[in-house]
């Protein structure tokens, strides 16, 4: 132990209490067409953040390709304005607006100077009711999407995510991370128009507005800008995927790779599951933040990796735990061993009380931090509201976190963080790693 010189000894000050999160003024209403609008006043800067979430789930590879291209082409023109005019209009308001699609939703997001919100909503309404998907624009977006897919798949992290999702969820829509190039190439502008007409509808959709606005007065503007947006939800919510059955370690060969991209995944409790709060804290202790066992072991003690991390993602029909570490090729097996050891340790032994307290305070504190800016609050709320929750989660969840005990964590960890509950995927140089990994587990090519 290093002896500290007398004149350098100091007492670490206490951290002080965590702030109580209070709900800001908000309105939560459903418009005639079925759109749910959550509007929150969070002044601070004269901006408004916008998040729109439209249910968009579908089955099969063709649907994913169409949904992805639709999001890219959503702003490519309407009857009255081409893509340049739409972009210029939004930019002139100091705004930005973009769209993306995932397995559950079409998401539109952006921000604008508060004084320009009415015009901004008009642009959104024009696009939602009248996106035209002009053929030449769609051709260009299709080409660019194909190129971006090639670039994405040249990244080991993307290949690992694809292999893991496919192994966990198979033919369920959650089993596809990205569309296939051939499927995208086959999408025609007419397909996008049909998909839009069928699925871009307000029923079941949610709009979140956060910023320098009045939560009640803003509704009139929303109703007038989006009032013409009508339609019943033609799609159905996804069924939950079958529970994944872990198998051998899958190796995706990437000859010459200087690192192995390790991903381990499995089911996680839903937000409403009784284990949710306990596993959130157990996962933090295991690997969910820098002060975790995983970081202390494979980064700070052994130098195997730069940013190991374990996180929980909540999609509409399933929640997934993913452990990630990118390690030097030559330490692949040792890193797997240590990761498995840390999983086993948290799954079979009680955590230390101070570890639990540190994780608890971090979870409560960072939830509050995530709502301290307009953008953070908008994104946090949009995720909650899209999953059928509301702003009271921001108060209820910290209360639940406060009641979690060491025994609760142990029970949750035994169920969800057990090494045998997780599927492992490795993207790396198979010739260099296969035999050593096989000393720890069964190995199969992906």
């Amino acid at each position: 132990m290093t002896v500290v010189q007398d004149d350098l000894v100091r007492t670490v000050p206490a951290a002080g209490p965590l702030p109580e999160l209070t709900l800001p003024p908000l309105s939560d209403t459903r418009l005639d067409g079925g759109l749910r609008v959550v509007a929150v006043r969070r002044a601070g800067v004269p901006l408004v953040e916008l998040r729109l979430r439209v249910p968009f789930a579908g089955h099969g590879a063709a649907h994913l390709a169409r949904a992805t291209l639709l999001a890219d082409a959503l702003f490519s023109g309407t009857a009255d304005h081409d893509n340049v005019a739409l972009a210029a209009t939004v930019q002139r308001m100091g705004g930005s607006m973009s769209a993306r699609a995932d397995a559950d939703r079409l998401a539109v997001g952006g921000s604008v100077l508060a004084a320009e919100l009415p015009g901004f909503l008009d642009v959104l309404g024009e696009v939602l009711t009248g996106a035209a998907y002009p053929g030449d624009q769609v051709d260009g977006e299709r080409d660019r999407l194909v190129q971006r897919l090639a670039v994405a798949r040249s990244q080991p992290g993307v290949r690992a995510a694809e292999a893991l999702s496919r192994q966990l969820y198979g033919d369920h829509p959650y089993g596809r991370e990205l569309p296939e190039v051939d499927d995208v190439a086959a999408v025609a502008a007419a397909d996008l128009r049909a998909l839009h007409a069928e699925r871009v509808a307000p029923e079941g959709a949610v709009l979140v507005l956060v910023g320098d606005l009045d939560p009640d007065e803003v509704l009139g503007g929303v109703a007038s800008a989006l009032g013409a947006w009508r339609g019943a939800a033609a799609g159905a919510a996804l069924d939950p995927p079958p529970v994944p059955q872990p198998g051998p370690v899958l190796v995706v060969d990437r000859p010459g790779s200087v690192q192995t991209t390790i991903r381990m995944g499995g089911p996680a409790p839903r937000r409403h599951d009784p284990d949710h709060a306990a596993l959130k804290l157990g996962n933090l202790v295991f690997g969910g933040y820098f002060s975790s066992r995983l970081v202390a072991n494979i980064r700070e003690r052994r130098g195997y990796t730069y940013s190991p991390h374990s996180g929980i993602d909540h999609a509409a029909a399933a929640s997934t735990l993913t452990v990630a570490a990118d390690v030097a090729t030559e330490v692949t097996a040792p890193a797997l061993l240590e990761t498995t050891y840390e999983l086993g340790r948290v799954a079979t032994l009680p955590v230390e009380p101070q570890e639990l307290e540190a994780a608890r305070r971090y979870a409560v504190g960072t939830l509050a931090l995530s709502t301290a800016t307009q953008a953070g609050l908008a994104s946090t709320l949009a995720a909650l509201v899209a999953d059928g929750l509301d702003a009271t989660y921001l108060v209820d969840h910290p209360r639940a976190l406060q009641t979690v005990t060491v025994d609760d964590v142990r029970a949750a960890a035994r169920r969800w963080l057990a090494p045998r509950a997780l599927q492992t995927v490795l993207v790396g140089d198979a010739a260099a790693i296969r035999d050593e990994v096989a000393t720890l587990a069964d190995v199969a090519p992906a």
Binding site: T2, V4, L8, V9, R10, T11, V12, P13, A15, G16, P17, P19, A43, G44, V45, P46, L47, V84, A88, Q91, R92, G94, G95, L113, Q137, G140, D143, R144, Q147, R148, V151, S154, Q155, P156, G157, S257, V258, Q259, F290, S291, R299, E300, R301, G303, Y304, T305, Y306, S307, D326, E357, A358, A359, R361, Y362, G365, T366, A368, L369, A372, Q374
Partner: protein, 449 residues
């Protein structure tokens, strides 16, 4: 009619300098019960010695390895268990350390920053450990992925000639492995003195109470002599330079073009039009290069213009470049992209810039500035770098106004300086090149035209 962007209400800024030279900037804002604390040391990649590429960044890692009263990783534990988040980063001209926490934990944050400024604990074991960690960081961010380090590591070697500006700031592995504990101690003594730092706090704080806490925790750190950073200026380019980088992991070609800009500190009025020009070129689907290179000519799939090697316009000293970057399909040649780019720049330089075009980007820049202002961390960091490099944290509120006052003529004049003769062009070719597997020193300078 010029759009008048909404101006943030001017924030109160309180400042002082301690006897040991530490500069302090405080910006109170009670609207959320959080505080952002940032310490900026006036040393970055440009100051690391030859033979020690990557040292400033490695040292940043070492600053998290404990100090007299804080164990290894305990800086993280203290902040995170207080309900906060934290990080640090290394840039060309500064290294910063920052945390955002509930306001009740402000004194804890000040203590932790002061403890490492006073007594960072440098050990051989931690040095070796963090060299290994940094090597994995370089592998995951650069070596094991396509386009790794393109263009931020690779273009400077083409655009600049002196070691400070041209070298790889992440570091060569041999240099990292050669770093010694004595190097670290010397670096700390030379660059981490209180007088070489700015402490910036923003958020839910009381000015008088905070000043007292700052004095209590930082006041007894001994003064050390500090040498002001030297000028890293280089003579302007007199001819175009072209280079090729081979990337066997990349599926399609890419291009980076860089021009040197006027001194951002000494010639701010001449510099700011370039900030707007970059946005006119590529901000959004209605921008010049999006419309020409992406939508009309189908030459490229992506194009992005920006100021600075590390993506920020206003946090580096001279020399600072404007960089245009493209990704394009294999069928597009570099010369075709350059020809289209030059054509658009020439049109702008000839006066073809609509007032509306400039006002749109001014509106966007104003709202982006507001968005950054909404975060106590964003404010604390911006105040720190502006105070450190310019002595004026107030520029955080003034810059959007200055940008809003730039005229079309100024942007037109700026476009006129971006000529083919004064730029560096780096082409990324998606293949293995001459068969070399490693990419640590991969720029092959082809010709200086």
């Amino acid at each position: 009619m010029a759009l008048s962007p909404a101006r943030p209400r001017p924030r109160q800024i309180a400042r002082t300098t301690l006897a040991n030279g530490l500069r302090v900037v405080l910006a109170p804002d009670p609207s959320a019960p959080v505080v952002g604390v940032a310490v900026y040391y006036d040393v970055g990649i440009r100051s690391e010695p030859e033979g020690r590429t990557g040292f400033a960044h490695l040292f940043e890692h070492l600053m998290f390895q404990g100090s007299a009263n804080v164990g290894k990783t305990e800086h993280f534990t203290h902040v995170q268990s207080a309900g906060g988040t934290l990080n640090g980063s290394t840039h060309l001209d500064y290294t910063n350390y920052y945390e955002i926490l509930p306001s009740g934990a402000l004194e804890l944050a000040l203590f932790l920053e002061a403890d490492r400024m006073r007594s960072v604990r440098l050990t051989q074991e931690n040095l070796e450990n963090q060299v290994a960690v940094v090597q994995e960081e370089i592998r995951v961010n650069v070596l094991n992925r396509p386009y790794g380090g393109f263009p931020w590591i690779l273009l400077p070697g083409v655009l600049f000639d002196t070691f400070p500006n041209a070298h790889n700031g992440y570091g060569d592995f041999t240099d990292l492995e050669a770093a010694t504990l004595d190097d670290a101690r010397d670096f700390f003594d030379r660059y981490y003195a209180p007088a070489n730092a700015v402490l910036s706090v923003a958020g839910d704080l009381d000015v008088d109470a905070t000043l007292a806490m700052v004095e209590r925790h930082f006041g007894d750190i001994p003064e050390r002599a500090v040498t002001p950073p030297p000028s890293f200026a280089e003579p302007p380019l007199t001819a175009q330079r072209r280079a090729v980088h081979h990337d066997r992991l990349a599926p399609q070609p890419a291009l980076a073009v860089g021009w040197r800009l006027p001194d951002p500190l000494g010639r701010l009025d001449d510099f700011l039009p370039y900030v707007l020009l970059a946005e006119v070129l590529t901000d959004g689907d209605a921008s010049r290069l999006e419309r020409r290179l992406v939508q009309r000519d189908h030459l490229v799939s992506e194009v992005e213009a920006g100021i600075g090697v590390m993506g920020s316009a206003i946090d580096a000293r001279d020399p600072t470049p404007l960089i245009v970057e493209t990704r394009h399909p294999a069928g597009t040649t570099t010369d075709a992209v350059l020809a289209a780019l030059d054509d658009e720049l020439a049109r702008l330089a000839g006066g073809d810039l609509e007032p509306d075009e400039l006002e749109r980007v001014q509106a966007r820049l104003a709202s982006r500035s507001l968005r950054a202002n909404d975060s106590v961390m964003g404010r604390a960091q911006l105040h720190a770098v502006l105070e450190q490099q310019r002595g004026r944290a107030e520029l955080a509120d003034e810059l959007p106004v200055l940008l809003g006052a730039v005229t079309p003529d100024q942007v037109v004049a700026a476009a006129g300086t971006l000529t083919p003769d004064e730029r560096a062009v780096l082409e990324l070719v998606p293949d293995g090149g001459d068969g070399s597997a490693g990419r640590a020193d991969a720029v092959t300078r082809e010709a200086r035209a």
